[in-house]
Amino acid sequence: MKIDHHPDESTLMSYAAGSLPEPLSAVVAAHIELCPDCAHEVRAMERIGATLFEVLAPASVGLTAGQAFAGAAPSLAATAAYVDTRPTASVLTRLLGGELADVHWKRLGFGIWHYPIKLSPNSKGDLRLIKVAPGQVMPDHGHGGSELTLILSGSYSDEFGTYRSGDLSDLGDDVEHQPVSDPVEGCVCLIASERKARFKDVLARIVQPLTGL
């Protein structure tokens, strides 16, 4: 798979640091699975975390290794080192709890369907699948806060180029764009937004002109 569009380096760093908000982190994880270059960058970025971690002033710990064993599952100390060679399910399958082909799409408006993905209770933001019919022109819209879009199938084009399967669009604040979906295949993508309300605004603005409300 040839991937032309990647997350911003600052986005990958935040991911490596473990501080990227959950919905954005999910989209980056799904991209990295497809993109060896970004996976490599993330490993280099984890090295920064480890370096900072190593020079932290240690906190005093009351417990010893022996006590930790005693407090853990009874037979833990005797277990063999764990080696899991099973293939793991893809990030998307884990997110959806099933396959993309089995998603129950909800119709949003003319030519647009969506499927919201549940986040953990303490999480902020919004994560959802969006499916756009072929050749659909979306109204101009801006973004507030960070928004990440990963193309899962089909493609779309906007002012910044054409985004195909595996590509990730990392749009910062105040970027306006007008995407048009692939004339034959349409587009299925995974979209994360840092802010819930704002994302709904965007959806409303996409749907509003189409439904004439």
């Binding site: 911003d8 380096e9 600052s10 760093m13 935040s14 991911y15 490596a16 640091a17 473990g18 501080s19 908000p21 959950e22 982190s25 994880a29 990295i32 699975e33 996976a39 280099a44 984890e46 090295r47 920064i48 975390g49 480890a50 370096t51 900072l52 971690f53 190593e54 020079v55 932290l56 002033a57 240690p58 906190a59 005093s60 710990v61 417990l63 010893t64 290794a65 022996g66 930790a68 407090g71 853990a72 833990l76 100390a77 005797a78 080192a81 764990y82 080696v83 899991d84 060679t85 793991t88 990030v91 884990r94 986040l119 953990s120 303490n122 806060g145 960070s146 910062g172 604040d173 840092e194």
Partner: protein
């Protein structure tokens, strides 16, 4: 540290594990406190991290990075899990590195040590404004928006400082090749 992990993996050496525990538990606890955990939770998470190290030691390979980096990613993922309450896919970044790999090239561990030393040196010499955002992101666990809010800066400024810091680190590490 890598040799201790290998002893744990290959011969379930509890003495080697005790050394790892003494070395890492206080740092993991400090990390968890900086991430916002109270001291009791931080100690629990440090213990959980090291138990995970014991269980998963067989998956560690020093071609994938240093022992410290590996243990850092385990601690980071546990903190994310705890914060978000068991969302299974969040274990991903570490999961990628968990596949057993081929035998280590003999000089790999050495060059990894050199890379980490370089990262350390560059971090020390970063301009204060770049160093600050990197620490807030990695150690305090703040998102870019939270950093922007905390420092009263535009989001774009936070991101560009992060990028500048990384570019310097990458250049310096690439020189080693």
């Amino acid at each position: 540290m890598a040799h201790l992990l290998q002893r744990v993996a290959q011969s379930r050496d509890t003495q080697a594990f005790a050394e790892l525990f003494e070395n890492f538990a206080p740092r993991i606890k400090a990390y968890m406190i900086r991430q916002g955990a109270d001291p009791t939770t931080a100690e629990e998470l440090a213990q959980e991290t090291l138990m995970m190290v014991w269980r998963k030691a067989g998956l560690y390979s020093d071609t994938k990075g240093s022992a410290t980096t590996w243990i850092f990613t385990i601690a980071r993922n546990l903190r994310i899990d705890r914060l978000r309450r068991e969302v299974p896919w969040q274990a991903l970044p570490e999961g990628r590195d968990e596949q057993p790999s081929d035998d280590t090239a003999p000089d790999e561990a050495v060059s990894e040590r050199q890379r980490r030393q370089r990262v350390h040196e560059v971090l020390e010499t970063l301009p204060e404004d770049q160093h600050e955002v990197v620490v807030l992101s990695y150690i305090e666990g703040l998102s870019h928006s939270e950093i922007a809010e905390r420092l009263e800066l535009p989001l774009g400024t936070v991101k560009s400082r992060m990028r500048l810091a990384y570019q310097k680190i990458r250049e310096s590490v690439e020189d080693l090749r």
